[in-house]
Structure formats: C-alpha cells, structure tokens
Symmetry: C2
Subunit: 283 residues, 2 copies
C-alpha cells in the first residue's frame, strides 16, 4: 500500500452522517413505543446520533452518560432536546439505563447489541460497494462492534474477497482478545482517550459471532497511535477527528509499510471533540 490519502483536498473524505442506526431502530418502534421514548447509555456519539434521529421523529430520548464526557457532547445533546442524566462511569450509566427502561417503560437502544444499529451501519457497506467496488480492504473502528458488524456482513455477503479489518485501542482491547481466542475471555481494561471505543462489552453481544466469522484482522492501537492519527488528519486533511473516530486511521498508519499496494477504505467515525480537548491532545 502507498499512503494514498489525498494530502490536500477533502474531496475524498465523505462526511457520513452518523445516525443511520438510530433512524433504523426508531423507525422499527411501534407508535406507542415512540410516544413513550427511548433510553440509551453512551460515551457520546451513540447518544448524539440517537437524539438527532429522535428529535426529528418527535421521540423523547433519555441519554445516560459518564460524568467525564466531553463538554461539547452535553452541549450538542441539549441542542437536540435530549434528556440528559450523568453517572460516575459508563458502566453505571448502562446499568441505570437498563433499570430506567424497565421502570419507565422506555425502549432501550444499545449502541451495538441491537440489530437496527448493525443494519443501519451496514448501509455504509452498501455505499462502499456502490462507490468503491474495487476496494481491497476496509478498516473500521471497533467499540461495541455494531458498525463493523454491519459493514462486514454487507461486504462479505457481496464480495468475500474484500478484507475487513477492525481497529480497537490497546487499553480497551475486548474484541482484539476475543477475536484471537475465538471465544469470550476476561479482558483487562484501562482508561483511554477514546471513550467511544472503551468500556465493558456485554459478553452476550450479537456482534461477537459476526466479528469472529466475518472480520479478517483485529488491530490494537496505542494511545500514542491515536494521537498520531489525529495529527495526520489535521496536518494533511485539515480535519478534526475525535480520538474515538481515528483508530482505523491509526491502524493503517502503523501497517502502511508492511503490505503491498492495495486500495483501502478507512472509515473515520466522529468529529465530536471540543477544540480545547483536541488541541491539548495534538499539541
């Protein structure tokens, strides 16, 4: 592979509106479920996508977040009229969201363990087939694995020779370890600058068998790799990318000299980072 990122124009970077999965999920709810509303735990972007779609469709959205999320996320969620609740960490937010779904009779929308999210994300696979049908490798960031599950399902069904690579952080390498072991095993988690790719993954998630069977490679990237990726995208594309959205870029930068010339699509998944936070990481 050559580093064939265009170094000067953003024309080959597609702005992919994120709430594909959220719209997909909400549109499958009954009228009564829509009226009652949805609840979701999130490090940020799932909440933004869901609130965006919910706001358009007039569905009340209850978003449960860790207290240390980027302040920009809160600001964005407020502008989207979400009901926001903060918790000490993402795992507590998840448990409380499940309780709230039960007691308040809300629809719980997981960011990844949810068919609607997976198939919504899969629409990116369809667009890759339409616009870049000769692609050799597609690289996707992995948190809970919803996006890569959708993209891998679509691409492998249509053209099994396309390789799908996942990128996760070394600090929160759940799918890297499970993928190597071919089964669910205990994984040690450390904090990461990429909260959207971090945290406990439910062992029963439907995304694991999909990733195990349809992804070709899982790559772990370091915190430094994430920052290097962010610097690359700023320096050569003048694009702000958040840490949780950059792992696929970081993975491909590490591997750039280790395999022959290939056509590679790298999915970049988010710019929701405040400039303060961004510049403190990149400088």
């Amino acid at each position: 592979m050559e580093m064939s990122f265009s170094k000067w124009n953003a024309g080959n970077i597609r702005a992919v509106l994120s709430p594909r999965g959220a719209f997909n999920c909400l549109q499958q709810l009954t009228h009564e479920q829509k009226r009652r509303g949805v609840v979701a735990p999130t490090a940020g972007n799932h909440g933004i996508g869901l609130s965006y779609a919910a706001n358009i469709l007039g569905v009340p959205a209850h978003i449960f977040l860790p207290e240390n999320c980027d302040p920009m996320t809160i600001e964005v969620l407020k502008s989207l009229k979400a009901n926001i609740s903060l918790f000490p960490d993402i795992e507590t937010a998840r448990i409380e969201a499940l309780k709230s779904a039960e007691t308040e009779n809300l629809s719980f929308i997981s960011a990844y363990n949810e068919k609607g999210m997976i198939t919504g994300g899969g629409s990116i696979g369809l667009e890759i087939l339409q616009e870049l049908s000769d692609v050799d490798i597609v690289v996707v960031c992995v948190g809970g694995g919803g996006l890569i599950s959708g993209i891998a399902s679509v691409l492998k069904a249509n053209n099994p020779s396309i390789e799908i690579w996942g990128a996760q952080t070394e600090n929160s390498p759940t799918f890297v370890r499970w993928f190597e072991a071919r089964k669910i095993i205990p994984v040690t988690l450390k904090p990461s600058i990429a909260p959207g790719l971090s945290g406990i993954i439910e062992p029963e998630t439907m995304t694991f068998p999909i990733i195990r069977d349809h992804v070709d490679k899982m790559i772990a990237v370091s915190e430094d790799d994430l920052v290097e990726g962010m610097r690359f995208m700023m320096k050569h594309h003048q694009q702000v990318v958040e840490p949780s959205g950059i792992a696929a870029v970081s993975a491909i930068m590490r591997k750039a000299n280790t395999f022959p010339k290939k056509k590679i699509a790298v999915i970049v998944t988010g710019r929701n980072v405040s400039y303060t936070e961004f510049s403190s990481l990149v400088n």
Copy 2:
C-alpha cells in the same frame, strides 16, 4: 435569520472541490497550448486548483507566488508537480507571470479575470439551484470576484429574487468601494491575514461589471471578524477554514441579528492553512 448552522454535524457542509474553474479553463486550451503549459500568479488556492487540474490533464503548470505564502501551499503544490517561483509580493508575481506568459509562450490563467474561471465557479450556482432552490440569500467571499461573478450570473438568470452578498476584508476592500461608488476608484490596501482576498485588482477586470449589476450587497469584514468566523467553524463544526475562505461566514455572523428569518447559503472556500498558522490565529 436564526443562526441555523447545524452545531454538530458536518452533513450540511458540502466539500466543494475547488478546481472547477481550472478544469474549465484547461479544457478550452488547444492541444498545442496544453503542451506548452500555463502560468498563474496566486496567493495560493488558485495555484492549487490549477495545479491539481493541470496534473490530471498532463499540462505543465507554472505557479508564481509571494514569498510569504503559507508553507503548506508550497508543499501541496510540490505534490501536484507544479513548477514554483517565489516573488517578494503577489503584485510582482502577477507582473512576472504576465512577462513569462509572453516570453515563454505560456497561457496566462487569471484567478478571476477569466471567463473559464467565472463559468467554472458558476457551477456552484447550478448546484445551489438543484439542492437548495428555496434559498433566499447566498453569501460568497470576494477576492478578485471570479467566484461570485459566476454564482451571481447563474442565480440571477434563474431566479432574480435570490440575493447575492459578497464579503471582502476591510483591509483590502476593492470591490466594496467600487460597488459603493458604482465605478472604479482608487482604494487603499493594507495587509490582511486573508491573502486570497487581498491585493491589487486589475481595474479592467470583467468581474466588476458583473458584481456591480448582479450582486445585492457588499460587506467588509475586519481581521477580527475573520478570526471569529474561524473560531465559530472550529467550535461548532470542527472544521478548519483558512482566513481567505471564511469571510462569508464572518459577514453573516455580524449581520445575524439584523434581518428576519431567511434561508442563507454561505460558501466556505478553503482549508489550506497549516495547523500551526491556524492555531496561532484561533488561540
């Protein structure tokens, strides 16, 4: 108008590949003219667009720049295989480019006083009509006036009720003053952080009668307004915009509370600024 910029997604910001005018000009050259090549003076972006198109079409491009241009511009031009010459200032570059066209038998491509550039830029007007036909106001940055001439010609011919506003810097307000006076008058120029909107405009330029007759308002923005606009785009859209590309945003921010609710399209024209330069301006 409400400040209806979406505050969180880039989905409603269109990445407009810049070399529309350049492709248009080059494709109108004869085979022999293409073989000999083109020469252009530029503060940066015209050179990038022209070199991009020339590189694809196999036309030699000679780009004449002021020495104080952004280092990133040089790097980008080199990657596009342009022949680069540096001069003390943009006006010297312009005079030398004209000489070089004469002595070397190259085609001189002005960034603005050139039908091919104007009609190429006009294709943005066609896209606005296709995708945003109910727009009330279109705001465009003005340097030599090529882009706004193209956009205004297309929009006014199709729907005269669409207002066209131009934004130029207070420090280099040539078209603001000519527009007020309805004729060519002497204008005092000062340096600006927006070189792409600055410098001497040829009094005989074909863009002046077009702007005089088809633009509804010319707005001068201060250097501080440019920086405020850049901050706004970074804070709310996580988009790096160069000073020369932001004037239309700055103009609309100043006017945001002074007129009723309207649908406004703001043309943002460039992200070719190094991160070092960008952060020194914004911080």
